[in-house]
Symmetry: C2
Subunit: 360 residues, 2 copies
DNA sequence: ACAGTATGAACGGACACTTGA
DNA sequence: CTCAAGTGTCCGTTCATACTG
């Protein structure tokens, strides 16, 4: 028996109904089935070399006792945890939640469970702490979602743990899955230009976000290539609230006819601000969002936006992680790309005549 | 050395750059610091009985080696995992994601990490499987978010694992945290009635959802008490898409002046359908949502809705779980309530004159 | 020789004791 | 007798090896 036995003995003797009794072990199953615990282990791991009749007897014993393999003991023995860690900043951000959902689903199918660490403040210390929490030998690999802060090369992460960055700057140090922000933002910008707008303003996400920066870059490049003037960038924080605040400023200028918002939430706030200022979308101002949240097509007006495939993003992240964990591959710097696509709805239109028209 | 050493020896000898070397153990730290592993254990767990000078030496050695305690070994020895499991159906649902976020944050502060299992299909088997995955002795307790399917009493869950239901029917078997759906839905309905609407229609969430059913019940009761006629209920699936589909049907009737939607997403779809049918919100039809998503106040029109405190929900769930895990309390049947509140914005108004006016 | 089963030593850490000053 | 530090054992599984019919 040992410690556990004697510790619980007192309580158990009292006859407390939900007595926290020690869960059944392989040894218990073995005793009941009349075999060695080694045989039980083989059955639990679907190994060969077990007589079918014996296997059935063991399985029956397992069922009877409600045996579940102790993952801590297995992890200790094998050095593998069959668990993936996910570090994310904000799960109320639509994309992050969807990506996590997908990661969890795919990981489950591969026989891994998922440990989430939410980093509240985007400080280096907080991220490192999340890392420590996760890597206390408890996960086989880690996905970092939108981990802007990690761009800083001086941040040292514990070595030896496979990592994949979802929409983060991999540098040469990590593999990453990128939503091809560049293409998405370029397409959005070009869509607006092709409608005849003289230029396109940009309501960007926070400056420390990798995604936001990429979108700014692509927007800028598209404008340059088209020979359109480049207006100043406004930085929000992905929230509808920030979109609204900045929208009020933009609405005050009547030379703006097209805005590319960094995500759909900010676009919602922006459109609200424009509406309150008496400027109609898309008649006076065209707006493009990014993400294609499920509600986008039901908004007023239905939002033209860049669709992102979060399911594929999650799948790709897990795949890259497993290549490192199970395949033992070293794939630092490899970037897998998920393609976005523009979904044109009703928030974009040619500029009102006489205003902001672009010279051919 | 043993197994691990000899196993990795082959690879390490090849000089592979990121050679998977065995992580440092207490023994390694002990050797470097010139103490016994027991002393290292004491330092790692902030026990007393360690000389300050010795402690510093051990801490220095830990830093040098990058030592992190092996949670599997600790769990095996203590029988505790310091990990909470969360089972959820759909993380793209705003409320679920927010609740998970809060649970993760609070759990982290309490020194627990969070293991998420996403159940794709709401079948009993899927839930049981998620349970098995989580309870393979790997979590100390489980939070079930919106676990409608578990209402079925015949579903046997593994005993011995503390459980808390978030917005699920606890029956007498589990403790639960409830968002006080009843009060929220009643307030929403009464708000519409008090504006003078003859009655209030209801666009409900899926029938197998505990939250949805509660909201229906309260809406029904509020109508009855006010002596208002009870229109048939329409059931959606929480999505804007379903709100739109049902909204088209509702928009076809011109005797409807007020609708209470089961959540904000469905409200968005509903409003869109009404708009397409040429019916204005709130001039022709008033709409109330539920959740108060961050975008609600920026929608067109700004949405009157029932605010839910998901942060508090997460906090309460973790608190209840820890009472069972650490306090050893048996609190089956206990229900903790989180209070919602109505936020009146611009999607509700008195009915247009001559239509649907309610007799005083 | 072969199929199937038993044996004992790790894995890394925690705790009840024990020993040393 | 107090306080610091060490010893030995066990947690439940896996794996290499030895054993048996």
């Amino acid at each position: 028996m040992g410690r556990a036995g004697s510790t619980s003995a007192g309580a158990a003797a009292e006859g407390v109904p939900p007595a926290r009794t020690r869960p059944p072990s392989q040894a218990d199953v073995a005793a009941l089935a009349g075999v060695s615990s080694q045989t039980v282990s083989r059955v639990a791991n679907n190994k060969s070399n077990v007589d079918e009749e014996t296997r059935q007897r063991v399985l029956a014993a397992m069922r009877m006792l409600g045996y579940r393999t102790n993952t801590a003991a297995r992890a200790l023995a094998t050095g593998q945890f069959r668990m993936l860690g996910v570090i994310s900043f904000d799960l109320s951000a639509h994309g992050n939640a969807r990506t996590l959902q997908s990661i969890a689903a795919v990981a489950q199918d591969a026989g891994y469970s998922v440990n989430v660490a939410v980093v509240k403040t985007a400080t280096e210390g907080a991220v490192r702490q999340a890392f420590t929490q996760l890597t206390s030998q408890a996960v086989d690999g880690i996905v970092l979602i939108e981990a802007q802060i990690l761009d800083r090369p001086e941040l040292q992460l514990p070595p030896g743990v496979p990592i994949v960055m979802a929409d983060g700057n991999p540098g040469q140090r990590f593999p990453a899955v990128d939503n091809n922000q560049l293409l998405g933002a370029r397409t959005a910008t070009e869509h607006l230009l092709s409608l005849g707008h003289a230029t396109v303003w940009h309501l960007a996400g926070p400056q420390d976000s990798y995604s936001a920066r990429h979108r700014v870059t692509a927007w800028h490049a598209a404008l340059k290539e088209a020979g359109a003037p480049v207006p100043p960038v406004s930085y929000g924080d992905w929230s509808a609230e920030s979109g609204y605040a900045i929208g009020r400023e933009l609405a005050a200028r009547d030379d703006i006819t097209a805005v590319f918002a960094g995500n759909d939430h900010m676009a919602i706030g922006l459109i609200r601000a424009l509406a309150e200022a008496g400027r109609s979308v898309p008649d006076d101002v065209s707006v493009v969002g990014f993400d294609d949240i499920a509600e986008a097509r039901y908004l007023e007006p239905p939002l033209t936006t860049v669709h992102q495939d979060f399911e594929e993003m999650g799948r790709a992240c897990v795949a890259l992680l497993l290549r490192q964990i199970e395949g033992g591959e070293s794939i630092a710097g490899l970037v897998d790309s998920v393609e976005p696509r523009l979904v044109v709805r009703a928030s974009t239109a040619p500029p009102a005549k006489g205003r902001g028209v672009r010279k051919p």
